[in-house]
Amino acid sequence: MFHHLLLTAVHATIQQGNVNIDNNRCKGCGLCVATCPAKTLQLSNNVNTRGYNFSQQLRPNRCIGCASCALICPDACITVFRTGLRKTI
């Protein structure tokens, strides 16, 4: 998608977001990982205090603050912020 925008050289902007995941509330169900359209989330190889491989954000600069992850998260572990617009080029 970014590649395409680059080729057409439009001054596109995109919403920039940020998430905060409550590691110890997370049960590692992976629903947020599968839902995130920007593929920024991944389950950790480490476990939390309850033994679950918790979710973490690996590529925060790609987050678009859409909150899909927070809506689907059964355990309400994810806080979502919108931090403004950023240029995609």
Binding site: G17, D22, R25, K27, G28, C29, G30, L31, A34, T35, R50, Y52, G65, A67, S68, A70, L71, I72, C73, P74, D75, A76, C77, I78, T79, V80, F81, R82, T83
Partner: protein, 244 residues
Amino acid sequence: MLLYKKPSLLTDTNMHYCPGCSHAVVNKIIAEVLEEMNIGTENIIGVSPVGCGVFIYNYIDIDWVEAAHGRAPAVATGVKRMNPDKLVFTYQGDGEVTAIGTGEVIHACNRGENIAIIFINNAVFGMTNGQMAPTTPLGMKTTTCPDGRDPQLNGYPLPMAQLFADIQGTCYVTRQAVNTYKAVKNTKKAIRRAFDYSLQRKGTSVVEIICACPTNWKMTPVEANKYISDFSVKTFPLGDLKRP
């Protein structure tokens, strides 16, 4: 700018539900709706069930009454009649609504009690290890129909929402899901409507929610949610069946 955070009515207690269980999603949505309605927790009374949803009273910070198995609509009837201005709702699974408590729920709807019924349909008896329920779709495998539900032997999945819609006392009957973020948004709107109608004393509202039980379906949470889109909705199509 803050876009989403855990609703404050949802307590910090870790929910006992299995990872990816739809019960937790619906608990969270109810907490969000109640918070947004902003009518004061002293004006809300929930009636909790027996089954996997039993501990909901530990998770949503309002007043609760715990009913005997299947009897939540009968208890809610009494609570609402004594507190006609309060929001009274039940939270029940398919074991309650379509099996042990069918009598109570049908008659509460038929009397048009001004309560809302949140009906979690995950197609199995979850708490007792995933036996076939009256709601199990044809062909779905469970521990008591390991080759898939066979109508000759096991009968057909019970279309409760259709029955509720035919009853005169109901004002709002809808079937929703929580397997995608869009479905979550729709369910939230549906629960809000049901609670509003209950407060406006328009009759009984029923929100059936097609839910995943990844543990007993023997799937990952992601697979279970996909199974709902690909399979469950063929037996239980989503949408409103009755609006006031």
